[in-house]
């Protein structure tokens, strides 16, 4: 003969839990308390989210203080880009760095914000910015050229500090 012993399982409810009402009151009081807590909502157009240095917004080119980009048009970013979003055309220059990009385009419809371009860049010339407000009305507009990509180094200091600390 097999004896069946009734063991108490964790999911078995006790008497007070079985009559529902006290548990319901507990749940109700929880939501009532929540109603008076501060709200998390950020009212977007008026209040804007200010990300920290670790935020990966749209990739931009670093512009030195003398107005020249750091990029030497090695094409590594273009090579590593998994979404094939970057197109670089190199040319020679009289400056010390000898090469510069004549054309540097990022198709923001293709970009997946992975940050590989930034990771692979030997010159720290392409970094992810804090800019997350990207909206276009047609496909041509979504291809960002050098005019939109060049950002003065001062505005990117947060990200550059972050990269030097962790990369």
């Amino acid at each position: 003969m097999q004896t069946t012993t009734k063991r108490r399982r964790i999911k078995d409810l006790n008497f007070w839990e079985k009559i529902y009402v006290p548990e319901i009151i507990k749940g109700l009081s929880l939501t009532l308390r929540t109603m008076f807590k501060p709200k998390f909502t950020m009212e977007y157009p008026e209040v804007r989210f200010d990300p920290s240095g670790s935020y990966r917004g749209r990739p931009v080119l670093v512009q030195e203080e003398n107005g020249v980009e750091r990029c030497v048009a090695c094409g590594l970013c273009s090579r590593v880009c998994p979404a094939l979003a970057i197109e670089v055309q190199a040319a020679e220059t009289e400056l010390e760095k000898e090469r510069y990009p004549v054309k540097f385009e990022i198709n923001m419809l293709r970009c997946i914000f992975c940050g590989f371009c930034e990771e692979v860049c030997p010159e720290e010339a392409i970094v992810m910015s804090k800019d997350y407000e990207l909206a276009f009305t047609n496909r041509e507009e979504a291809i960002y050229g050098k005019d939109k990509l060049l950002i003065p180094v001062g505005k990117l200091q947060d990200r550059i500090d972050f990269l030097r600390q962790y990369k």
Partner: protein, 343 residues
Amino acid sequence: MSILEIVIVTLIKVVVVVGTMLVTVAYLVYFERKVSAWAQNRIGPNRVGWKGTLQPFADLFKLVLKEDIVPDNADRKIHALAPVIALLVALSTYAVIPFGPDLQIGNYNIPLLVADVNIGVLFILALTSLGVYALTLAGWSSGSKYSLLGGIRSSAQMISYEVSMGFSVAGVLLLSESLRPVAIVESQSGWMWNAIVQPIGFITFLVSAFAETNRLPFDLPEAEPELVGGFHTEYSSTKFAGFFLAEYANMIISSAFIVTLYLGGWQIPYIGKIGLSPLLETLLCFGAFLFKMALLLFFFLWVRWSLPRFRYDQLMNLGWKVMFPLSLINIIWVAALIMIFGM
């Protein structure tokens, strides 16, 4: 009063009641969204009008502008009829609920309810039961599996909850010895509210009211996750707005009905002893009725955003094995009170 005066006064009351009803429905939707937001640490609608107060009208406007889609398989006539039934039932039930004591203006003595019917409680129970036809017909005529399941659920749910609801009301009727809503309110003078005298009946009626209005935790006919909207899956535009309106109107009726049956209606305990002027007293009582109703409506919203939905078999279990015996116990309790204390 002459016949003409009676007709005019009644018409005014009808217009006022339906008007306030529709405005309350609109703002109930607004507060539903606000309460849901607060319960989830959000702010809620605040863009349309001051603090979002015009939001319900924007919602309604959007719904009316939408394309009205009827599925190919649908039974077109019944499909169109269902939301009409829902609205008709929701708006006509309010006629018999008293929202204040008699109002004295000059020589006129105006009772603050549209129709003082002797069988008011029966009328409300009958009409709200008719309301389930709207859901079942909507589910059946849509020609969609999900809708059909929703419709079937609503009728099964109605059968299991109407029983305990009826028995809970029987407890009230035993004490008031009348089916007239006004008499029921007057029988609860002082602190002799039925919610205090028969707490079990109050709880069973409250739970049944939730089931009757298809509100969470008993919104099985809608059940968004499993039935993608249930009976109103195939409804859009104005017809959907009809169901939407009816649901909230039903909530208002349920809370008004609960206030009438269990929370002393418009009565404020011992207000007669303060010695206010009759007009002020009437207005205060009217305010008390609205206040009690508002509290109950908040409770409806509050529960919706706190409790999860019951599973179908759990609902049936609760209805037949818990609520039904409890409502019977309540009748015995009330009968014993009458026997012993002769109340």
